[in-house]
Symmetry: C2
DNA sequence: CTGAAAGCGCTAACAA
DNA sequence: TTGTTAGCGCTTTCAG
């Protein structure tokens, strides 16, 4: 659509060479104030907007970072997009989104990463998911600097931001076991930002501390991340089940548990405690309101971008694997004294 | 990071000119099968990934669309990103996100649109919000093809996708007025994807039909889109208020109303009906479950991309303003006979 | 302090 | 059917 004004136009208008224009738009300090003003004025008059594409070609830098995640993880990612967006904007990066596992047309992760490669994004932010290993292998193969959110990774030009999943799980389970409440059920969907395997390890370690055993085959139930699926599943389940604690890896699943339990006449928290994770609005809205583990997702997004740009600029980095802190938010699905 | 293989490398490897390589990667039909195979093989061997940036410079096309929205609208936009992402991928476009009104560093819409201009995105998707007029003026000024979601707009190289806000509001209010229930409260946050002004017009028209008057100064309450703010507001409000119906422009606000009303001893739906909008998971999770207006947000995203690409390709377009259908989903916050 | 000129990697006439 | 060549709009030496 329409002719765009180029650096040549500005040069002509200002009566200088294009090299000079380039210098002023890049803030070079060597250009004489008077010339600079002339150029600036021409830029203003012509409403010149430097073409990032051309600049990208010339510099082999796009100042763009890509974020790639499966659609199913979107609920988690969305809360981070705030931090990712704000921070990239502040650091003058654009962000492009690439999603995987959409409906229908089988879109293997290879294809998605290939798109990222073609786009020449400077770096990429990945999110923990089932295929994360493969994703990491691919970004390494193409030497794309990356930071992954949700699980620890190591490697050149790689960083990671994550909550200590093992510790989170250990802490809550320990609390219950200390009170002799060992009938604990752990609920998790397949895709999860927090490393579920590690959480299970944390739970097991807590049981070991009390010389007890956590039976993952019976005390872990998988569920859908869609309430329409998980709620009916638990409505059935709680017809003949009750636990000291049901601990879920995401609030939405916890709400399904709470509602299904209550609908089966189980008093929450009097007869059963429920704890969710991520401290989302679901936890606030739920009745009774849901006790949840707060994880600063906005900050994780912001940190991820910052870390990635440090890697890109080869800045000094204290630690390329940053553990973010979590916090238990007690509400009404756990007993007062808990 | 590291040298990328270029079209020259492939040409040399295959023993042809770079023009031929360009032809095969662009699927030109004029190249002899045998040559094509040679080239394809070289591409394979070298793992060549065409540089989109260079291609963008050469063609003045980036096959990228930008989506810009205020952070505060993210809750709405997120549900559309699925449709936007899937559809752009299918049509071979990338999507870049640009958010406005983040914390702190005042980021006027002009600056954001300027970034879009510099990025040379082929087109942009905008979302109805307080500043939409200004946004439209800007994209017109820079002649960026655009489609806006959430409100009707007209113009060259512009399209829009929206629900009929006036009709939605008219229909629900009409239902109540027909039953002599005219004490209706309309609740809305400032930013909303659905055009709130139009909804109010729809409500007013319904009242007029019954020769009654809807007093916008008293029957409309503004609230925050944060539950932490809206719930306390309504907790206070319902100490001395009760209505036939509380109708909100988004489910989350409706849930705040439901919870606050119940906490003040108001029976929902026996004493007061509540209806939300967008039919989100909040509606399902809420107790009692929330009656809501379903709007196919995924499809809106998908349609927006499709429409935008039609505009970009100057394809035949039946209607550049497409109204999407809504549907009332009755649940437990409205009386059975309603 | 400023200008000339050589790319960056690819597309698209135009020739052959 | 294939190759040659001139850009696309900008950055960046290298001279001056």
């Amino acid at each position: 659509m329409g002719k765009n004004v180029t650096i040549y136009d500005v040069a002509r208008e200002a009566g200088v060479s294009l090299a000079t224009v380039s210098r002023v738009i890049n803030g070079s300090s060597v250009v004489k104030p008077k010339t600079r003003d002339k150029v600036l004025e021409a830029i203003q008059r012509l409403d010149f907007k430097p073409n990032q594409i051309a600049r990208g070609l010339a510099t082999s830098k796009t100042t763009t970072i890509a974020i790639v995640f499966p659609q199913s993880l979107f609920a988690h990612v969305k809360d981070m997009i705030g931090g990712i967006g704000d921070t990239s904007r502040r650091l003058d990066y654009s962000v492009s989104i690439y999603t995987t596992d959409e409906i229908g047309d089988g879109n293997p992760i290879e294809t998605v990463i290939e798109k990222v490669v073609k786009s020449r994004a400077d770096g990429v932010i990945l999110f923990n998911n089932e295929e994360i290993e493969k994703e990491i292998t691919l970004v390494n193969k193409y030497k794309i600097p990356a930071v992954v959110i949700g699980t620890r990774v190591t490697g050149d030009y790689m960083g990671s931001i994550f909550a200590d999943a093992k510790k989170i799980a250990y802490e809550v389970v320990d609390r219950y076991l200390a009170q002799d409440k060992s009938d604990i059920l752990f609920v998790s969907p397949k895709q999860n930002l927090i490393n579920v395997e590690e959480m299970i390890v944390g739970i097991q370690e807590a049981y070991q501390k009390y010389h007890m055993n956590f039976d993952a085959t019976k005390q872990v139930v998988r569920t859908s991340s869609h309430y329409e699926k998980s709620y009916p599943q638990f409505l059935e389940y709680f017809k003949n089940h009750k636990h000291d604690l049901v601990f879920t890896s995401y609030d939405k699943e916890a709400v399904a548990v709470v509602n299904a339990a209550i609908d089966n006449g189980i008093q929450v928290p009097d007869e059963m405690d429920v704890i969710g994770m991520m401290n989302t609005s679901y936890a606030l809205i739920c009745r009774p309101s849901l006790t949840s583990i707060h994880v600063p997702v906005y900050d994780m997004g912001a940190l991820a971008v910052r870390l990635l740009t440090k890697i890109l600029n080869e800045e000094e980095i204290e630690d390329k694997a940053v553990v973010i802190q979590h916090l238990l938010m007690p509400r009404d699905t756990t007993k007062k004294d808990f």
